[in-house]
């Protein structure tokens, strides 16, 4: 009998259920973990996603045949029981649980275990086989509690204000931006944003999420209005002439990659905040143990190191899997890479 999920050149394929999970080539039927562009792509005939993911897909992929589901709701797909469970990565992000002939597989998608208050609370799910990401799968990645990082961001903003500078926070438009905006909304009255951030934030607000509204910066926005303010911008805006308007300013980047000094230095940023929407090393290990899986497939990130460690320590039988996740993921990317979709100028 073939395994429940096989690794094909189109993506993770469930033959019995006749569907793919986050396929990277167009297929008939796609189950989508979350709205980031390396997981949710164009061209599928049918999309199944969490209810919260739908407005994101509509914004990014336009109108398609979307079917939505709630967390913990079971859908029968050609005899395979499929259910979505919170992954805590971004709004709507889900782990996918598959059950067929008494065997349970779980695909993590991208996940983090710390509850950020907007992405749902991650719960490990008991399974036989666990397919996990490994974006930050090295023991050098140990996140500080988010509140500590938020405090650092808030202190940084007030210090910039004292020095007469605007604070430009560089975050990805989907996920990190919402999280950071929630964190600073109490301390900052008006927050300005780049068009890419504004579009995503407004889409989610329109979909009913209680999020902080941001003011879109347009070519008409008077420069005086922006003095000493907080501006949220996507990585693509970094170093472009768009930034000139805020001068004098200080740039802070929020990304797990900021854990390593070289990354912050390379990007010439004034401040790096190691705030990630992915699990760190310790939480990866805890999660794998908590699923009780006897077999673990490790995808995008430090898959070689993490799977070797799991094997050597007898935590699970592990193997690495090549996927095309992470190529355009918000975080796996080389910190230098600019996402084309984030380039949008205003």
């Amino acid at each position: 009998m073939p395994q429940l999920i096989s690794f094909t050149d189109k993506g993770l394929y469930c033959e019995s259920g006749k569907f793919y999970i986050d396929p990277w080539k167009p297929v008939e039927s796609a189950v989508i973990t979350h709205g980031h562009s390396d997981h949710a792509r164009f061209g599928n005939k049918y999309y199944l996603c969490h209810r919260f993911t739908k407005p994101i897909l509509q914004l990014r992929l336009g109108d398609n045949n979307y079917q939505t589901t709630e967390w913990n709701e079971t859908i029968n797909m050609n005899g395979v029981k499929v259910s979505f469970h919170p992954a805590g990565h971004i709004i709507g992000s889900s782990q996918i649980r598959l059950e067929y002939k008494n065997e349970v597989w779980v695909v993590s998608g991208d996940y983090k275990t710390e509850d950020d208050g907007i992405s749902g609370k991650f719960e490990p799910i008991k399974c036989n086989v666990f397919i996990t990401e490994s974006t930050f799968g090295l023991p050098i990645y140990k996140w500080k509690p988010q509140q500590e990082i938020y405090n650092n961001i808030i202190n940084w903003i007030s210090k910039n204000k004292e020095n007469g500078k605007a604070s430009i926070l560089v975050t990805y438009s989907l996920g990190k931006a919402q999280r950071v905006l929630q964190a600073i909304k109490e301390t900052t009255q008006t927050i300005f944003a780049h068009g890419a951030i504004y579009n995503m934030q407004q889409t989610l607000i329109d979909a009913g999420f209680d999020l902080k509204p941001v003011v879109r910066i347009t070519p008409e926005t008077p420069k005086e209005l922006l003095k000493e303010t907080v501006v949220v911008a996507p990585p693509g805006a970094e170093g472009t002439s768009w930034m000139k308007k805020f001068h004098p300013y200080s740039i802070g980047v929020c990304s797990g990659w900021m854990q390593v000094r070289g990354n912050a230095r390379r990007r010439n940023v004034d401040a790096g905040f190691a705030l990630s929407d992915h699990v760190d090393w310790n939480s990866l290990l805890q999660t794998v143990k908590a699923t009780g899986a006897e077999k673990v497939f490790v995808t995008h990130g430090f898959q070689a190191a993490f799977s070797r460690y799991l094997n050597e320590k007898n935590i699970a039988e592990a193997a690495e899997v090549k996927t095309q996740f992470g190529d355009e993921d918000e975080e796996i990317n080389s910190p230098l890479e600019i996402k084309p979709e984030e380039k949008e100028s205003e």
């Binding site: 090295l138 990659w257 070289g262 990317n333 910190p335 230098l336």
Partner: protein, 553 residues
Amino acid sequence: MNEEPKIPQQEKSSEFITSSGLELFANLVSELSASTKTNEKIQSLVDYFAIAPDADKVWVIAIFSGRRPRRAVNSRLMREWCTEMVNIPEWLFNECYHTVGDLSETLALLLPDVKNENQKTESLSYYLEKFISIEKEDENIKKKFIVDSWQQMNKNERFVFNKFITGSFRIGVSQKTIVNALAKVVELSPSVIAHRISGNWDPVATTFQELLSETASLSDFSKPYPFYLAYAIDGEVEDLGDINEWQAEWKWDGIRGQIIKRNNELFVWSRGEELMTDKFPEYFILKDLLPDGVVLDGEIIPAEQGKPLRFSVLQTRIGRKNISKKQLQEAPISFFVYDLLEYHYEDWCEKPLTERRKKLEEIITPIKNNAIQISEIIHSNSWNELADLRKKSREMNSEGIMLKRKNSDYKVGRKRGDWWKWKIDPLTIDCVMVYAQKGSGRRSNLYTDYTFAVKDGDKLVTFTKAYSGLTDKEFGQIDNFVKRNSIEKFGSVRTVKPELVFEIAFEGIAASNRHKSGVALRFPRMSRWRKDKTVEDINTMDDLQEMLKMYGK
């Protein structure tokens, strides 16, 4: 001029400074590495010097001017103790190290966080003096000290602590920056400070007050002139007009420098305005040979019997604090002097070049010593003739020709018009990338160090590595390519599908039996990413051999 340093009184407010000396320094290092502007760095240092304990200040000056304690613990032991504490296998440590690209930081990231937030660390001088005192102790004592210290420190403190042990403290602060900050703090001129902190002094035995007033009686005798720097010529040389209005010299490939003799003391400055007198003992004799009140502009280059050697010879000496006899023999240094900026304590910068040159020859020609020689004038009657001579640049170990207007004064900084660099074009070759390795520091966790190959029949033969020449964006794209197209992994090196073609530019080629290809290139760098070419279009081993025949020595 008041030459006594104004040592700022430790303000009463320092009672309220709750940070330990090490913590203050760790914060300084974070600030310095985050800021990209020199003025901000100077301000951070000024702020630090205002509140840090005096003994720590002395150590900071010592460390940034190359006076660190000898290594108390080797890095292999530090790795071992860390992997033991964190309980990870050695291969995983190495994996982390390759990703971070810096040993001290890897250790700092891996070690467990401090349990007790109220635990305070000691001053910087405490740890540094402790390093000295345990240097000869046995391993257990060292281990106890290091491990105990780690357990009291936060991540940033551990990072600087490790850096002190492992030695390489590169955070974008030059000695000049330190000097400028100190000058602001104690209100003295930067050149006086530079002079005072140079030479031999022991950070353990010297107080901040002593250090900065040690030679207080000496006024600003060491002060150099700002260097006049040339632009590369952008049009045709013919456009410069009549060749007789121009003086041509070889463009030497060394360290631009000024040699100053005033008040019977000798000072050597580099273009980075770093006082380097102690680094070149060869020049000491010039104190006896040169007249007093003289400032010379020229090139510090390795040379034997008046013939320049390759720049790489000099590189074996730069950066070392103590120069061994062997190095003095293998890398002898001479000063190729080409300008006179001061004579009899009189500023000559505004006199025309011909006049300065005439006097320079009068001074230097009688000195028959390998330590100094005049940079010769190249005589020619036409630009064509000079262009032919320029082709010999490589043979001369020179980078091309300098053109200086005969009636020009000596200007300040980089100015167009009177001085031009007429460099030879680099040699180039098209080749394909076959290996990639992660860089370090600013480029950690990015594949930025590449090995290239040319074709030999249907085989590919590697012949050089290169790390520079591309933009950050291009490095990012290549990094992405490497991650998706690697064939095999050997430690930190990946073999990559031979697909990306680059033009490598280099300054010279020599036969070498250390490389498979049999050639060694000088200053190879990626001059262009040839996206228009495929691996079919690259150069061959025969092409390299041909270049070796033409340009190799």
